[in-house]
Symmetry: C2
């Protein structure tokens, strides 16, 4: 299965969210006609940088004013969902199961962690959960196999949210076959691509794949 | 129990590691005579900025040369442990159970995640696991209660590595009592201190507390 083969539902949801360290246009390098484009709060400035026109901008707008045009869905500041989670739920209710979140790394750690947990939220429910800020690309795998194209940067895998069984990593400098990973030991950190692509799989559990797009 | 009341073992281990966004001297603002000071690889430059003299510098020195003076413990580049984990194990074998890691945030996400998993490694084994870079302070709680002094920044809690039961957060704008948290929903994100201190507890599971020291 290639990285892009899994396209369940009626098309992808692309969510632009705040704090994009790299180039958002590089993160959104394969626009598709049926993409549902949403922005989480101030993420619309990131969408603008990527030349993407959002179907809706969703948030509480506690730190940035809403955009002057387009559809704005305003939520109260006091709520259980982050603005990015609001976008995920909005798209999920409309049948979208494949998600590309753009941005969301490199600012406050709590924002980053909330975005990682949002990837798990999607993966736990059978959706495809990818996040990229044009510098780092993440994918949350749940009982799944994925093939990633080679980059010059580091490739790491982490047990996320619990123990992982049956983890295999192939096409890399350090290969492993059918091992267990636990969230209290970063054994899968700092690998390198050795071939044109890497194949990563996890038989049981949620595995976070962290791929640096360029060499540090 | 205050944040600093739990001092098991013969004293603390302070580990300086690379990538300190804030002021390392602010992160190491209460030096104690019996601190075992270690540096993970290039972290000795951070120790130097904090005015701390390491007992040993431990690492593979694949990206930075070892310091010209003091005790250097060199490991091969190909190994299962990160340099920070090597420091933790070195100190653990010498009886240290309370850890303050300084730095380790804000660079590559895989480094940050490896450091969070290292905090869980310590907490799972009954140790005290704190990380600070002078801007953000983390503590991994395992079946534990902690009291944190007020800061002007955000206070967040995340289920880390599995489900948390019996989570209570008091002395904050949004208080919760005896709830469950899961790693796939960032319910505990973005709280504010309301009193002079906050009390956070988790009855079962590992809870990552993320405290921003200053308002963003």
């Amino acid at each position: 299965m290639s990285a892009d083969a899994a396209r369940p539902g009626p098309g992808r949801c692309v969510i632009f969210t705040a704090r994009c360290q790299g180039d958002p246009a590089a993160a959104y390098d394969d626009p598709r006609e049926d993409d549902l484009i949403l922005c989480a709060d101030g993420g619309y400035t990131i969408a603008h940088r990527a030349g993407a026109a959002p179907a809706a901008v969703i948030g509480d707008f506690d730190s940035a004013p809403p955009p002057g045009e387009g559809t704005v869905i305003r939520h109260p500041v006091v709520k259980n969902d982050t603005d990015t989670m609001l976008c995920v739920k909005y798209a999920w209710e409309r049948g979208r199961r494949s998600f590309l979140i753009i941005g969301g790394l490199g600012g406050r750690l709590d924002h980053t962690l909330a975005n990682l947990q949002t990837l798990l939220y999607i993966a736990e429910r059978g959706g495809r959960a990818v996040l990229s800020d044009g510098r780092t690309r993440l994918q949350m795998l749940k009982n799944q196999t994925v093939t990633l194209p080679r980059t010059e940067g580091k490739l790491s895998v982490f047990a996320f949210g619990g123990r992982c069984e049956g983890v295999s990593v192939r096409g890399t400098k350090y290969e492993v076959e059918d091992i267990a990973l636990t969230p209290d030991f970063p054994l899968g950190m700092g690998n390198d691509f050795a071939a044109g692509h890497a194949e990563i799989s996890v038989r049981r559990g949620a595995l976070l794949v962290v791929c640096e797009l360029e060499k540090e």
